[in-house]
């Protein structure tokens, strides 16, 4: 269960970016999480409110976009879909593959409410 500590890291990161942009509130957080990241999206969703309470992101919607597992084959050059415990080339079966998608754990995008700065600028 490291999803709570991940959420705390996420909140720190989001708070930092929101503050840099002079935001008053975070509206939406988009994560990209692959099956091989070691993170369970549903646990992340459950842990999020605990970590977000009392922060600038308290009322933010957390959207977790899944990523599919894909491998590139060094043997035949094919790019194919794979599963978490079978990362072989879907075309030729070689295990000389490189994961091209599926282990992401990214903070992809934020939507912030930034108060009108005009008054402050004058």
């Amino acid at each position: 269960m490291h999803e709570l500590s991940l959420c705390q890291a996420l909140i720190d990161q989001v708070t930092r970016i929101a503050t840099d942009h002079g935001a008053s509130r975070v509206d939406r957080i988009l994560l990209k999480v692959g099956p091989l990241s070691g993170v369970e999206p549903s646990l992340l969703q459950h842990a999020y409110p605990l970590a977000a309470t009392g922060t600038i992101a308290e009322s933010a919607e957390l959207v977790i976009e899944p990523a599919e597992i894909r491998v590139h084959c060094h043997t035949c050059g094919a790019d194919t879909q794979a599963t978490a415990n079978r990362l072989l080339c879907g075309a030729c079966g070689s295990f000389h593959t490189r994961l091209t998608s599926g282990d992401e754990m990214l903070l992809a995008n934020l939507e912030l409410i930034v108060p009108d700065q005009e008054d402050a600028d004058r």
């Binding site: 500590s5 509206d27 990214l106 903070l107």
Partner: protein, 290 residues
């Protein structure tokens, strides 16, 4: 690059993204920020510093991971018996509670720092950083970091180590790599431990365990070892000597390395296109992905 982003704000373009600047807002008045930053970037940043600290002191650091009871501490005891006279070894022990494992290592005359994680199921780079300051790194060749016994969470956290070692003991069953792909994918070396039990557990087939490992597209060496008897550790001892040699050769060229899984997490950041570090983190480290 990032027209809606704002993550590359400079004094020259700041007016564009402040207030009602062109780049700032979406139609409904919200500001969209593309980030593409790893969720563990704080941890990864600390881990990079740990790695620098280890490299400065010419230490090879290895992260040992397995389920509880796979024999990590026994492996370390036997390794110390075998190499303790030639090489200077130190150990960081991670457990939820007790100093028991550190005491076992200290009984061998080896520096050991125990991290009691409380309820945390893994070590992170910050915990290891604190422990590093309690070790005299000047006199050390190899630092073993014995992670909390757990096949799930430790795989996600870079500690600053150079290599990951995963243990799979014979009583656990040979399909562990298929059940815990994230962990076994992260390993630079997989040790099948307690091989002295193979005669009484014929259902465990080392070939099958290795096959499941290869299914993860892992080319990591898979070695069957036992801490009982005389020659049971030979492949592991040879691997350690080779790794130490490689580490020293890298350091002479001013390079370092990180384990399998961390390369992957960095690659996935790079995959997202140009990444922008926010805030005060603008440190650059040169890392060698070999």
């Amino acid at each position: 690059m990032c027209n809606t982003c704002g993550c590359n704000v400079t004094p020259g373009n700041e007016h564009l993204v402040r207030g009602d600047g062109k780049l700032a807002t979406t139609a409904d008045g919200r500001t969209a920020v593309t980030v593409l930053e790893g969720l563990l970037s704080e941890n990864d940043h600390q881990a990079a510093h740990n790695r620098e600290l280890l490299d400065v002191h010419q230490v090879l650091a290895l992260n040992l991971m397995s389920s509880p009871g796979a024999g990590k501490t026994s492996l370390l005891e036997a390794t110390i018996d075998r190499l303790g006279r030639d090489l200077r070894i130190a150990v960081i022990e991670g457990d939820l509670e007790t100093e028991n494992d550190a005491e076992r290592i200290r009984a061998k005359g080896i520096q050991a720092v125990q991290i009691a994680t409380g309820s945390a199921c893994h070590l992170d780079a910050h915990m290891v950083h604190e422990a590093l300051h309690r070790i005299d790194l000047h006199g050390i060749d190899i630092l073993f970091i014995e992670n909390v016994g757990n096949l799930v969470c430790p795989a996600s956290f870079d500690l600053g180590q150079h290599r990951n070692v995963a243990l799979l003991s014979v009583p656990e069953g040979d399909d562990k790599p298929a059940k815990y792909p994230v962990m076994f994918r992260s390993a630079d070396m997989v040790l099948c431990t307690k091989s002295d039990l193979l005669p009484v557990l014929p259902e465990f087939q080392p070939n099958r365990a290795e096959h499941y490992l290869r299914d993860l597209a892992s080319a990591a060496p898979f070695e069957t070892v036992s801490t009982r008897g005389t020659d049971g550790l030979e492949p592991w001892i040879q691997w350690l000597r080779d790794e130490l040699h490689s580490q020293r050769a890298r350091l002479e060229q001013g390079r370092t390395t990180r384990p399998n899984i961390q390369q992957d997490s960095f690659r996935s950041e790079a995959r997202g296109g140009p990444t922008h570090r926010h805030g005060h983190h603008h440190h650059h480290h040169s890392h060698d992905h070999d």
